[in-house]
Structure formats: C-alpha cells, structure tokens
C-alpha cells in the first residue's frame, strides 16, 4: 500500500472503530475491547511502518480538497514530531484498551467507553497529523467534546458531571481562542497549511498581529495543558474511570497543548513576549503543581497535581527560547507519558483491589501485592528523577537548561533555585506515594482484602515500566533516533548537538539533582507525619486560593448577570420590547451618522418640484395621521384611511416611473382592504364613551407622550435619511447592466419583470414559496379558529333585517340583503369575465410591458373576491369550485418545472430560454421559458390569496351556523 494511503488508513480507523463500538450491545465487553484493540494496534502498525519515511527529509503527506473556495485542504502530514506523538497516542492507547478491559466492571456500559475512547484516539491523531491549522482546530475541539463524554462517563456521579462540565468549559473556550489565533496566523502567512506557516516564521513574528495571535493561540494551548490559572479542570477530571485518566492525563489530552506549542515553536518562539508568557506560566504551574501534589491524600489527586507540575516543567522548557530546551521538552513529554500512565494504572489497580485511593487508609500493601508494588516503585522513581531511569535523563537536561539560561532579571537568576526546589517537591511526593501505600503496618478495615490483580491487567504497566528502564539505561538505542527525528522536524538546521548519555561528569545539573533527591527525602522525613494529619486537607499557604470556587463563582456570576440583563431588557410584554428596539435602532443609526459624518442637507441632485405631487402627498399624510388617530375606536374609517395612504403610495410609484409597482400595489391594496374588513367582524366592541380607570389615565397619557416622541423621531430620521440618499448622485451599480442585458439575454423589454422571472428568478421562487406557506398557515390557523363568545352572534343589522323579513308575508330571511345588493350583484357578474380578461392581459404582456404574474394573480383573485362579496360564499361555491390549495401546489410545480427544464439542455436550474415564433396570422410571438415560470407565479398567487380570503370569509358562515345549531339543540332540550 502506498505510504500516504497507509497514513490515511491509520487516521480513519479509530473513527470507524468508534462507530462499530457504538453499535455493539451494552454487555459486549470483550467484543468492544477486541475492536478497540484491533484498531489501535493496526493504526500503530501503520504509523510504525512509516518510520523510515517520517524520519526522512520530507514528511509523508495525504491531502484532499476540503473548502477549496477558502483555500483549505484536508492534509495529513507525518513528520518526525508527528510520528513520536502518534506512537505515544496509539501505543499507550493500545495498552489502555487492554487495561480498561479488565478494569471496567461488567455492569458498566463498556462498549460506550470504547466508542468514546476510540473517537478520542482519532481526534488526538487528527491533531497530531494535521497539516492545516483549521483542521487542527477542528480536531482540537473534537478532543474537548469527547473528553467531556469520557470524564462524565459515570454520569450518575455528580462530581463526574461537574468535572466534565468544567473541563469542557475551559478547554472549549481555549479552543475558540485558538481558532481565532489560527485564523490570524493564516492571514499573516497567507495560507493555513502548516508548511506555509512554518516557512513564514519571521513574517509572523514581525507582524503587528503577532501579539494578539500569540495570546490567542497560547490561550488554547495553556488551557488544554492545564497551566496556571487554567489548571483547575485537571484534578476534577479525575472523576473519570482510571484508564481514561491514565490516557487523557499522560499521553493525550494535556499533551495536545504541549504538541501545539512545540509544533508552532519555530514560528512563534524567540520573542520576549513568548519568553514571558510561556516561561512564567510554566514556572508558576510547575511550582504550584508540585507543591499542591504533596498535600493530596487521594492517589489520583496526587498524580493529577504531579501531572500539572510536569506539564509546567515542559512548558517552561519551551518558554526558554533555546533549541536544546525544545529537545528536552520533547524528551520529557515521552518520559512523562510512560511513567505517568503506568502510575495511573497502578493507582487504578490499588483502587480496584482495595476499594480505596485514600493514602491515609492505605498502608503496607507490599505484603499483598509485591509485584504491582515493584512496578509502581520503579515508575515513581522515574518520576522523581532517580538515575538509570528515563525521568532522570530529561530532568538533567532541564536542570542544565535552567543553569544555562542567563539574564539579568531576577527570574533568570532564580530559575536554577526554583527548578531544584520543584524537583525536591517531586521527590517528596513520589516518596510519599510509595511509602504511604506500600510500606508501614498491614492495612486494616479496607473495603476489600488486597491481592494482586489478574495477569492481563499488569501487562500494560509492565510494558511501560520496561520502557522507562530501557530508555533510562540505553537512551541512544531506544529513543535516540526517534527523538532526533522529532527535533529535526521542529528545529531543522537549528538542531543542536546533544548527548543522551547517563553520565556527563560532575557538573551543576548533577549537583542540583543530588540536592533535590536529598532535600526531598529530608523534607519527607521532617514533615511526612504532619502532611498526613494536615487537618485542612489542602496545601499549606494556598488554601485561600481555591480555583474551583472561583470558577463556580464566575459561572454563577455569568448566569446571574445574564438573568439581570434579561430582567432589565427582556420583557414578556410587547410594547416595552418594541420601544427598546426602536430606541436601540435610533441610537445605532445616529451613532453611525455621527461617526461617518453624514451631512443630511448637502446640495445634490433634485427633480423638479410639482405642486400636484405635493398636494397628493398632503392627502397621503392626512390619511396616515388620520388612520393612526382613529385606529382604536373607529376601525372601519381607519381601514379606509390606510387604504388611502396605500393609494397615494401607488400613485407615487406611477409618477416616479415604476408602473409595475403601481399596478401591483393598487391590486394588493384592494385585497388587503377587503381582508381587513373581513377581520373586523371578530373584534371586540371598543367605545370611547367607556372611561378608563382613573389610576390608568395618568400612566396611559405618559406612555402616549413617550410613544409620540419615539414615533416622531423615528419618522423624522427616516425622512432625513431618505432625503439625504435621494439627493446624492446615483451610484453606478448593477442596475445599468440589467437595463442593457434585459433584451439581448432574456428577450424581455420590461426590465423589472425580466429581473423577477429571469435574472433573479431563484429569489422569486423563494418568495412564492413564502407566499404559499403563509396561505397554508392562515388556512391551518383558521381551521381551528375559536372566536370570542361576544362575536358569535350575527351582526345587529343582519338580525334586524332577518326579523323584518320573517315578519312579512312572502319573504324569507336574506331577502332584504338580496334587494340591497341587486345592482352590485348584476354588475359584478357582468364584470367577472372582463376582470379575468384583464388578468390574462396583464399576464401575457408582462414580459414586455407593465404587468406580470404577480399583478395578474392578484387581479384574478379580485375577480373571485367580488363574486363572494356580492353573492355570498354559498352561492358562489355552488357554481364555481375553486380549490386554492391545489392552485398553490400547481403553481409551485409549474414554476419548479419551468426552472428544471433548463437541466434538459444541460444548463443550471432556472436558466431561461427564449425565441421568437412566427405562427401564421398572429405575426411574431415571443416564446420564453420565463413565461412558464411567470405562469407558475400567477397560479400560486391566485391560490394563496384566494385561500386566505376564502378561509376568512367562511368563518362568518360556519361560526354562526354552529352557534345557531347549538342554540336550537338547547331549545329542543328545554322543550323536552
């Protein structure tokens, strides 16, 4: 198989395995573990087999286009650094799978654990192998999400839920910062591809955006790597099952941050700001972590703080801006992963076999589990930096770097001292871990009698401890080549000469190591008992600084703040909300105007003043103001006045060269007015003579004054803005193009219609969909319509007429209405064919002259509507079956088919076709597919508007019938 496909296989297998594990039944512990083991080992073999290529000069690359428009490719890229991290992820992953198989109880939903675990392996591999920054961020966030699931695996446990939530909040927030940082870097480098970014280091460091990008990227890296002050999530994540802790907090999750810092080290490091941010964070984390680890009574808590401290050490190394320190950082990352994973597993075995992790209750376990004890002891010695083990080698390198880092600042001078101090603390807590757990008097009243675990559970620890010893003894034969490959991948030509030998002679680092070992032992001798009986449980000096408490306070504060804001700005009442909305819009518009220096009255273009136009608008303004005044108590006149304002706006369109708009507006005006009139029937009586309560009057007046001010200001500003724009010269936009191309490209002379049915037909298709949906919604709402009881009766006038009709000889109820409507009925009946003809005329000429589908559809609706008004619904429907819903469907179908027709010619959707046809007698006739589309529009418009009107009109018939039937039934009951 070609190498790049092998790489893709290794990257994709974990995700496939995850899906497979998800599909397994809940009790299939062995099957799930088998899948997970197979997947990790196969991927490991793939990556392992690629070593000769990865260690070579050019990385193995597999790429596909992902977002070509943004220049983002999906790139898998395996170089020396990626290789060493991928091996850690997969190697320790395989061991954790084996361990987890025996650690997890049969009652737990184990396949789910393996599903998450494999997804996590995939996400981690994704980060490590990413050859593209955006892709890296995506996998980064994926690890945050999957770690949330893993930490909260025992979701019935409150501390697991809290720990998962905190980890997600902190690391996902960091991931968001990282995304912004990655975008900034990509903008500076001109590409998101890692190769391009790595090649433009100097440009990035000199860019003015360097500092923001650095801070954002470090916010991502430091939160993930649990650096101060973001470290608080890591100890709380110990609520996860121990195999997960062993994996997340030794080889993977926390190392993602470290990996990112190493990966971008050639680009970002080497500046003062890098030194101070990364160096200080690492230093503080190392000290606080190791100090806190001393005081933990929980085995996993101790290991968690120890992890924080070691991560701080690695971060500090990266912050020193020295190539040799980078080598040391990579080396320590590997070493820490091996000894910390084995220690976590040992702690898990102790927990599993004794039932507790509290070091104050554990003691003398050596007698029961000598084999596990030995393994744990070797691993702890590696952690403490005892010679002949791997931890010693990298710690020596660290101490050497601490000594070599010269400068005038007090921090530079204090570095060797602080490094030694932290090492002494490490020795102290490693010693305490071993001494408390395995030595001392035999344990009593433990939950279970301790014994050695099953054979298979120890194998992962054995493998890891073997690695610790092998690297410690013969580093050049084991880790040497891989480390060199990784260092070369990061540093390139700047790779320093270094020597992994155990013995460098008597020098300062050795003296510091010895001092730290002796100091740690001595400190334990002096303070060991007092630490165990430490009443508060937390570290000395630091019990006032509780990060978790601060986090919870911060979260509570956020929620409270949001609630306060909601209480202040949000309201369930519509009017205050709208008032706020208008005021906010006014403020925003004014602010923009002030900032951009809007001069409303600058002289510009103008059109000759026409007194008739002004007179017309005088009427229009009077209509608008009158409608506003009368809308409360005199609804009928308000509807008429609104119609008047609409008429004026329609005439304005006509005046100002928009005949299409004028036609459509006036037709819409007719339909809207009729609809509003139909609605009036169901509204409650409102009478100005009924006085409002005195308490309400003052408040109402105040509110009206405020509203009046808001309305006047809103109107004035809109007027000012409109005036300002209208007097500016026209912008040379896209308008001219449409005018010029309407005929050659679409064969239409009416540019507005061509725009609607051809150039922007897709918009129009969306719009008629909206129209159809609104029609159906109106219909659906009215089907379940329940009018208020006081509107159920027939109107007073109708009742009076009916009573009158009943009282006379030879007359039926309804005769009076029929008499009154005699002339209108005749007129509308005669008008009907002519209006239909007008609609067809408007439709057919639409492409070349004002008209079109919209206007034609509404005109046709008016024709139907007039019949309904004059004759009543029952009469019309006996003679004319209109099925508006079918019309809506048909219209949409015709429009879509007209668009899809262009597929037959191999053109994109809605490409219009036109030609001229010369039939005999009629002369030249344009044939355009846009005409079919326009036909669809017309049919749909008829359907939707007729549906709304008919549904509203039916209510009065249906409801009064229902009410009268009920009344009759009640009367019959009374008689019976």
């Amino acid at each position: 198989m070609p190498p790049h496909l092998l790489l893709a296989l290794a990257a994709i297998l974990p995700f496939l395995g995850s899906v497979v594990a998800l599909c397994l039944p809940g009790h299939a512990r062995n099957a799930a573990a088998g899948v997970a083991g197979l997947v990790t080992v196969t991927s490991l073999a793939c990556i392992g087999g690629l070593y000769p290529l990865a260690a070579g000069s050019a990385p193995v690359v597999w790429a596909v286009d992902w977002l070509p428009s943004l220049g983002v490719r999906l790139v898998l890229r395996l170089d020396g650094l990626a290789w060493i991290f991928a091996i850690l992820v997969l190697g320790i992953g395989a061991l954790v799978v084996l361990y987890a198989r025996y650690y997890m109880a049969a009652a737990d939903p184990v396949p789910r654990l393996f599903c998450y675990l494999l997804a996590f392996v995939g996400a981690m591999l994704g980060i490590v192998l990413s050859g593209n920054l955006i892709q890296l961020v995506v996998f980064w966030e994926l690890t945050s999400v999957v770690s949330f699931l893993l930490i909260g695996y025992w979701s019935d446990n409150a501390s697991a839920r809290d720990g998962a939530r905190m980890a997600l909040t902190i690391t996902a927030a960091g991931g968001l910062c990282l995304l912004v940082g990655a975008v900034l870097i990509g903008r500076i480098a001109g590409s998101y591809e890692l190769d391009a970014v790595l090649a433009s280091g100097p440009a990035i460091r000199e860019s003015p955006l360097y500092l923001p990008a650095l801070v954002l990227i470090l916010a991502g890296a430091l939160t993930k790597s649990a650096q101060l002050p973001f470290h608080i999530w890591l100890p709380r994540a110990m609520a996860a099952p121990t195999p997960i802790s062993a994996y997340l907090h030794s080889a993977t999750m926390v190392k993602a941050g470290i990996f990112l810092m190493i990966r971008l080290w050639p680009v970002l490091a080497g500046t003062e700001s890098w030194y101070w941010i990364v160096g200080t964070a690492g230093m503080a984390t190392m000290l606080v972590g190791s100090w806190s680890a001393i005081f933990q009574h929980d085995l996993k808590g101790l290991l968690a703080y120890s992890t924080i401290s070691h991560l701080g050490l690695i971060t500090l190394l990266l912050g020193l801006n020295s190539p040799l320190a980078v080598v040391a950082a990579i080396f320590h990352t590997v070493n820490h992963a091996t000894f910390k994973a084995s220690l976590f597993m040992a702690a898990g075995i102790i927990d599993h076999e004794t039932g507790t992790r509290d070091m104050r209750r554990l003691s003398g376990l050596w007698r029961a589990m000598p084999y596990t004890g030995t393994l744990a002891m070797v691993a702890a010695a590696a952690m403490a930096g005892v010679p002949l083990l791997n931890g010693f080698l990298s710690k020596e390198m660290f101490l050497a770097e601490a000594v070599d880092n010269t400068g005038d600042h007090w921090l530079n001078l204090a570095l060797p001292v602080l490094a030694t101090l932290a090492s002494a603390f490490t020795v102290l807590y490693s010693l305490r871990f071993i001494r408390q757990t395995f030595f001392g008097p035999p344990p009593h009243d433990l939950p279970h009698a301790p014994h050695e675990p099953v054979r298979w559970m120890r194998i992962p620890i054995e493998a890891l401890v073997l690695a610790c010893v092998a690297i410690g003894l013969v580093p050049n034969l084991t880790i040497g080549p891989a480390l060199a490959g990784a260092a070369r991948a990061v540093l390139g030509d700047r790779t320093p000469d270094y020597d992994l030998a155990i013995w460098h002679g008597f020098n300062a680092p050795l003296a510091m190591s010895v001092l730290a070992l002796a100091g740690g032992v001595a400190l334990y001798g002096v303070f060991g008992r007092r630490i165990d009986t430490n009443p508060r449980g937390g570290p000395w000096l630091m019990h006032r600084l509780d990060g978790g408490w601060l986090f919870e306070r911060g979260m509570t504060g956020l929620v409270k703040g949001a609630r306060a804001l909601e209480a202040r700005l949000g309201t369930e009442r519509l009017q205050p909300q709208l008032r706020i909305l208008f005021l906010a819009a006014l403020v925003a518009a004014t602010a923009t105007g002030v900032v951009r220096g809007l001069d409303l009255l600058a002289p510009g273009r103008s059109t000759a003043f026409d007194p008739a136009f002004a007179l017309m608008w005088l009427v229009g303004a009077a209509c608008a103001v009158g409608a506003a005044e009368r809308a409360k108590y005199h609804r009928l006149s308000a509807v008429i006045l609104v119609g008047g304002a609409g008429l004026v706006s329609s005439l304005t369109f006509l005046w100002l060269s928009a005949p299409d708009l004028a036609v459509t507006q006036i037709l819409v005006e007719i339909v809207t007015s009729v609809m509003l009139l139909l609605g009036l029937r169901w509204l409650p009586k409102r009478d100005a003579a009924i006085p409002a309560p005195a308490s309400e009057r003052a408040r109402a007046r105040r509110r009206r004054i405020v509203d009046l001010v808001v309305a006047v200001v809103a109107g004035a500003s809109l007027a000012g803005l409109a005036y300002a724009v209208m007097t500016r010269p026209a912008v040379d936009g896209i308008g001219r193009w449409f005018v010029e191309e309407a005929y050659p490209q679409a064969g239409g002379r009416n540019v507005v219609n061509v725009l609607l049915v051809d150039f922007r037909a897709f918009d129009t298709l969306g719009e008629i969909c909206v129209l159809g949906i609104v029609g159906l919604t109106v219909f659906a709402l009215l089907r379940r319509f329940r009018p208020a009881p006081d509107t159920l009766e027939r109107p007073a006038q109708q009742r009076r007429h009916d009573a009158d009709d009943r009282g006379r000889e030879g007359r039926e109820p309804g005769h009076t209405a029929a008499d009154a409507l005699l002339v209108p009925r005749l007129v509308t009946t005669w008008l009907f064919p002519f209006i239909v003809l007008l609609a067809l005329h408007l439709f057919l000429r639409g492409h070349d002259l004002p008209g079109g589908g919209f206007a034609a559809g509404i005109a046709l609706t008016v024709a139907f509507m007039l019949q309904y008004m004059a004759w009543g619904a029952a009469w019309v429907e006996e003679r004319l079956r209109i099925q508006p819903i079918a019309w809506i469907g048909l219209g949409l179908l015709v429009a879509v088919l007209a668009g899809a027709g262009s597929w037959l010619a191999g053109r994109p959707f809605l490409t219009a076709y036109f030609a001229y046809w010369h039939p005999p007698l009629l002369g030249k006739v344009p044939v355009a597919s846009a005409l079919v589309f326009d036909l669809g529009i017309m049919i749909l418009v008829v359907g939707a508007s007729a549906l709304m009107l008919v549904a509203l009109a039916h209510q009065s018939v249906r409801r009064t019938r229902v009410a009268e039937a009920e009344a009759e039934r009640a009367a019959e009951r009374d008689i019976a």
């Binding site: 103008s606 506003a628 809207t672 509204l683 309400e696 409109a722 724009v725 050659p744 709304m948």
Partner: protein
C-alpha cells in the same frame, strides 16, 4: 420632489411606529401596513427619483433597443419592492389571522393577550374570556 417624498415617508413611518406601539392588536396590524408602505417607498427611493422614464425598453416595434432613451437609474430597487409589496400583503394577512386566533384563545385583543389592569393572572387560572386557555380548538 425629493423633499415631498421624504416628508411623506417620514409621516407614514411615524404613523406606523405610533400604531405599532399601541396596545391593541388591530392597531398594530394597521401600523405594520403603514410602516411597510413607508419602507417600500424608502427602498424604492434608494434607486433615486426619475419622472416619466419607466424601465421598459424600445417602446416601438422591432428588436432595436432604445439606447438613447432615458431610463430610471436603478430598476433593481423596483424589482425588490415589487416582491416586498406582495410579501407585506402576506404578512398583513398572517398577522390579521394570528390576531383573530389570539383574540379567540385569550379573550383579549391586547398585544400581550391579557388586559393590563387585570394584573398578572395566576398560573393555571383561566382567562376571563376563555375557559380553556392555551387550547386553540374546542
């Protein structure tokens, strides 16, 4: 003309805003109608005002395009407003029906579904106008 039209837009929108802030649903529906006139005219005006030059090509017969004719500056705003006119019709219809349904369900035509001087209704207590609050159908 510009001055007249902008003043007209201002008055239409002021009347619309005033009505939208009123407490009764019917007032709000009428306010929306007036405001949509104002906004449609405003968008239309963004294409500048031209008298007597509709965007219709070559009034005479034949295929020649009247290149020397004067056209409005921007036909695009006209197309936009044409769809906006139809959509505001649909909007008015929808609001009217929602208004009627709300009036049937809550028994009140106040925009908040309850009369302001009744105070806050207790949870679970029916509205005075309707024995089954929250249910649209009997």
């Amino acid at each position: 003309m510009e001055l007249v039209l902008s003043a007209g837009i201002g008055i239409l929108s002021a009347a619309g805003v005033w009505l939208i802030l009123r407490p009764r649903t019917f007032q709000v529906v009428l306010g929306l109608s007036l405001l949509s006139y104002a906004v449609n005219l405003f968008i239309f005006a963004m294409g500048r005002l031209t008298v007597g030059a509709p965007p219709v090509l070559g009034a005479g017969a034949g295929t020649a395009i009247g290149t020397d004719n004067v056209f409005v500056d921007d036909p695009v705003t006209q197309a936009l407003v044409l769809t906006a006119v139809v959509i505001s019709f649909a909007l008015t219809a929808l609001f009217l029906v929602v208004l009627l349904a709300a009036r049937g369900v809550t028994g009140s035509d106040h925009v908040d579904g309850q009369e302001p001087h009744q105070g806050e209704p207790h949870p679970g207590e029916p509205h005075p106008g309707n024995p089954h609050p929250g249910k649209l159908h009997p």
